[in-house]
């Protein structure tokens, strides 16, 4: 592809919206074309400016109650719940985390444009297809248990490492089981959690070969969040909304010492 064709793809490429073949073609071109690479720098500068300067307005606290009471007048079964308003209090904090994550992501994408980015995309693709396959093949679990003390020992002898296993039933993400997976060419533990009728796959594998990049993205309707704590890489994938998956990731982070 020549520069003109590449330029038309750059926006979609930096938005993470290209298929793998085109993405690779773009990255290959950028590696040897300083002019197009400079255009990408401009796009990154723009993204950084937009993401740091534009506020995401949050609903005034009174609005939630107004909406609830309007819905109740309409006959909707709506709770006068305190738990919801508590969630709303937590949300801005989460936004900060989210912003930090997107900044980290922007930096990551900005500085390691090339091989790592391809690997990141490959990792996301792989995780999503693992997740989809686990649902389709009805092969979500090899060990079905809501007890972390059953799930954790099950991995012993099957993996060369001992993954941290935490139940999050208390915060609405009950652990339902686990199985073995291959992620990024390594053996990984897949822990399965439930949120309503949806499954969350949490892949855990050692970080010693390569730390997982901090990623928050959506692919084919599935949300993916990944991070590392230095010893282990974590990657959560599910069809639940991005906000809820971020909550889940935050709970796991806090529960993992």
């Amino acid at each position: 592809m020549d520069c003109n064709e590449i330029r038309r793809l750059l926006e979609a490429a930096t938005d993470g919206e290209l298929d793998v073949a085109h993405q690779l073609a773009v990255e290959e071109h950028l590696g040897r074309c300083p002019l197009c690479a400079r255009a990408v720098e401009g796009i990154h500068a723009r993204r950084t400016a937009l993401q740091t300067a534009l506020p995401r307005f949050t609903a005034p606290p009174a609005l939630a109650e107004k909406v609830r009471s309007a819905l109740r007048n309409e006959g909707a079964p709506v709770r006068t719940s305190a738990s919801q308003s508590k969630r709303a209090d937590v949300f801005p904090l989460w936004r900060v985390t989210g912003l930090a994550a997107s900044l980290a992501m922007a930096l990551f994408v900005g500085y390691t444009w090339g091989g790592s980015r391809v690997r990141t995309q490959a990792l996301v693709d792989e995780a999503v297809s693992d997740h989809v396959r686990s649902l389709q093949a009805n092969h979500l679990m090899d060990v079905a248990s809501t007890d972390q003390h059953t799930v954790k020992p099950w991995f012993a002898g099957k993996l060369a490492f001992s993954p941290p296993v935490t139940d999050l039933a208390g915060v609405g993400f009950p652990l339902v089981g686990g199985r073995l997976e291959r992620v990024a060419g390594q053996d990984a533990a897949a822990l399965v959690y439930r949120r309503r009728q949806h499954a969350i796959n949490l892949f855990i594998w050692p970080a010693r070969r390569e730390a997982a990049p901090p990623v928050t993205r959506e692919r084919d309707g599935y949300n993916v969040v990944s991070w590392t704590d230095g010893s282990f890489n974590f990657l959560a994938v599910s069809e639940i909304p991005a906000v809820e998956l971020a909550d889940f990731a935050e709970e796991i982070r806090q529960a993992t010492p």
């Binding site: 330029r7 038309r8 750059l10 926006e11 979609a12 938005d15 919206e17 400079r38 255009a39 720098e41 401009g42 796009i43 500068a45 723009r46 993204r47 950084t48 400016a49 937009l50 993401q51 740091t52 300067a53 534009l54 506020p55 995401r56 307005f57 949050t58 609903a59 005034p60 609005l63 939630a64 107004k66 909406v67 609830r68 309007a70 819905l71 309409e74 909707a76 079964p77 709506v78 709770r79 919801q84 969630r87 709303a88 949300f91 997107s102 309503r196 009728q197 959506e218 309707g221 909304p241 991005a242 906000v243 809820e244």
Partner: protein, 181 residues
Amino acid sequence: MEASVPNEPPSFEQAMLPHLDAAYNLARWLLRHEQDAEDAVQEAFLRAYRAFGRFRGGDGRAWLLTIVRNVCFTQLRRNHPSVVREVFEDDLHGSTFDPGEVNALVWRETKAAQLQLALDKLAPEFREVIVLHEIEGLAYREIALVSDIPIGTVMSRLARARRKLQTELQALARKETTHGL
């Protein structure tokens, strides 16, 4: 269509209320007015509740945001008919858009207040795609759902919106320099 059937999750409340902030953010940017945005969100939630029987699961946020943006555009058309002119051009020339050159310097030196001002100056249809993509983090496919346009149009509209934003910023920067001198 009553959503109160037990053991039939998710309820309207579970499916839609978590997206209150997303709804408010979109309405606030489109209408550029706090009280108008609150009213629009409230109306959108009522409409969503009445139509919830037609919600087939899936992307609840996109489903709700469609209703929010429709309420907002109705309001804009009623109160500021001059502001809203349908953006036909990019639908007609969807495949021929040229993203142009991104001026890194302009974006590195821009101040937050200038950028917000520049975004406020865009036509609502362009502001909409910027808000959904850059602030709300929606993928092209989700924006296509929310705004009810083809993905190709999402791409071209986003490219044009970004370009217009840069033009506005450059104009604002020029103004500032002139006043500064």
